[in-house]
Amino acid sequence: MIPEIGNFSLIIALAVSIILAGLPLIGAQKNNLQLMQFSRYAVVTQFFLILVSFIALAYSFSIDDFSVLYVASNSNSALPMIYKISAVWGAHEGSLLLWLLILSSWTMAVAFFSKGLPLSMSSRVLAVMGLISIGFLLFIIFTSNPFERLFPAPMDGKDLNPLLQDFGLAIHPPMLYMGYVGFSVVFSITIAGLISGQLDSAWARWSRPWTVIAWLFLTLGIALGSWWAYYELGWGGWWFWDPVENASFMPWLIGTALLHSLIVTEKRGAFKSWTVLLSLMAFSLSLLGTFLVRSGVLVSVHAFASDPTRGSFILAFLVLVIGGSLMLYAIRGPSMSGGGNFNLFSKDTFMLLGNILLTVACAMVLLGTLYPLLDQMIDLGKLSVGEPYFNAVFVPIMLPALVIMSMAPLMRWKGDSFANVARKLLLPVIIAFFIGVGLLFIDKGSVMVSVSVALASLIFMSVITSFILRLRNKGNIGAAFKKIPLSFYGMNLAHTGVAIFIIGVTFTESMSLQKDLRMETGDTISLGGYSFTFEGAKSRQGPNYTAFEGAVSVMNPAGEPVAILKPQKRIYPVRGMPMTEAGIDAGLFRDLFVALAEQLDNGAWSLRIYYKPFIRWIWLGCIFMALGGLLAITDRRYRFNAVPGKAVPA
């Protein structure tokens, strides 16, 4: 009964979405107040219907209703309750329902925080979001219905994929989807602007907080995924350039470009057509990512549910949404007025350069991701598009972007003199230079290490310089501090995050140590100055798995005990799938990572032991970036109810 309610409310939600997408658009065109005001009710109704259906599915999971096919394939009575709930989005059908729930939550947020917008504008935005939800509702109802029944019902379910039975992965998809779907807001605002021809600085100001929120969720979502891959897959890696990872990284790159470009458009009225294009692209790439992951055109570790029929549906949807919006762009674009003039050497130019680099980087990732498709159409010869390709194209693009990042915040809008900027940057450049040279002489130092760390320090010094410049000649420092807007802190926090991230990546990639070896009980090896002693492995019983748990005691160079690591090798009997749980001793400057690989004869095991310097900085950097975004949107200037068109006092 409950699953039928869920199914039924999805169908009603579809009807409501059709109304949401249709009536307000007509109302806005004909200036009919009643039709326009209608959209807010439709949004609320739609949200509750989708929520009901989501709860119905979660309920079916919690009571082990295995007569529902989706529950039977992704749950088991022995599964702990928290994973029964996260199993709702553990596979294709349910994760789409989560997508939809988040989309309707975003739509609700827009409806409630758009009171400052002209009614014709807000109802157009909501209508576009309604259109998008129609596509997803049709997709769920006709190709991926999570409420399909299974008769006769099996005694027990097939269990959730053990890879997904983990806290990090339980919250990773919701975060990621908040980001993906969040870009639909900017997309809709832009489409509404293109339809009405109203793309002014109010449009940019209004888009900014939505973009930043979506971006910060996406940042956290990607970081969570990377952290999960690190401790759960047992390979010690944090990024694999897998198609699915790329699918989330591309919108991130464009989203980053977009939030910078929006600043220029708001403050200077420049790059308007470029900003419009980026805001269409950010969401389009999110959709493209969904297609690549779900259709099975690319083989990936994440391709847990790929099906060409679904692929054709999403492709048709892509063509309608992306093709339609780009068509609108081609028609309306030429009438967009260009912004103010600026010199070649100005903040404006450097922001544009940074933007272009991010976009090129995104294009390179897209090319690498789609390369297997290109290769089967026309034989392009040998080129393996794994990590080597991505590292080779990505790093050279990002290095100049880091230089720009350290310069642009210190430059003036419209025009600046080289001497002026050079004076501000003189000290940071000198310090960064000496840090770089110093790093050439450390153990395992290389040109790459020294250049990356020098650039990271340059960014950090530039952040400090920009604060000093703000406070200099202000007399009362305390009062001057208070005057600094939150968004300024936000920007600098995020930029510091990038510097931290770069340092983490550089040291982890260049100075990690690794040993794969056979160890018997009592054997000791040393790695990175630490000594690891294998104390043997014994079997253990978990709630829905059996495991071998090893014990490895670690001593630091001084001979003091540091930790006893307990890596596990689990077998989940329902799926018969082996899983590696690494034993990790985390630290700010290094991680010690031990994984059980294979059981060998008489009590011996093959073990993988890693020493990973600075790896925490990778995720710490991401957290800084996200916090920076959070600070930026709390700035008073970007309160959602700011009246567009009027100057808002800072």
Partner: protein
């Protein structure tokens, strides 16, 4: 001048063509069995990953039931199925590898890190053998019977289901054949 606004649409159009072709191919490859099914394995004689002085000759595949797995160190999905290959190798299934378009050092490091389930792996650096085997993407797994005929092809990573419901029963069946 106005053409610049058309560019994104045109680029997207090209992308769609690519995706449509990819989708049709993906469907085709899944639905239509490989034309190699029932045919003898393609002839090759290639140095192995383990020892470049030693050759892996396709004739070795005759006289036993075996799996041929196409893999590469740069292929992330290959890691996903690797544990299953190790399990099958431990339970006595004969697995041969074709290491596809890979650097020798990377391939060797990969095998030492994740375990080597292969009796031997041909180092198909140019992908020449891959063309003969009709490789569509890594990983791919072929089941070879005692006469050296290809009996089954699996595209993409092997999952538990595939192993238990298709590969292992088929191997059992083929071993019973004379």
């Amino acid at each position: 001048m106005k053409k610049q606004f058309m560019t994104p649409l045109i680029v997207f159009g090209l992308l769609v063509v690519l995706l449509v072709v990819g989708l049709i191919k993906a469907k085709y490859i899944r639905d239509v069995p490989s034309p190699l099914i029932g045919k003898a394995v393609p002839q090759f004689s290639i140095p192995t990953v383990e020892n470049q002085q030693q050759l892996f000759n396709s004739d070795e595949l005759k006289g036993q039931v075996s799996l041929v797995n196409i893999w590469a160190s740069w292929c992330v999905s290959c890691r996903a199925e690797h544990k299953l290959l190790n399990i099958m190798a431990n339970s006595g299934v004969k697995i041969y590898g074709i290491n596809y378009k890979d650097e020798l050092t990377d391939a060797r490091r990969w095998l030492s890190a994740f375990g080597n389930p292969y009796i031997k792996s041909a180092h198909d650096f140019t992908g020449r053998a891959g063309i003969d085997w009709g490789v569509y993407g890594t990983p791919e797994t072929f089941v070879i019977d005692k006469k050296g005929l290809i009996r089954y092809k699996h595209t993409g990573p092997l999952y538990q289901d595939d192993m238990e419901n298709k590969i292992l029963p088929l191997i059992k069946e083929l071993r019973a054949e004379s």
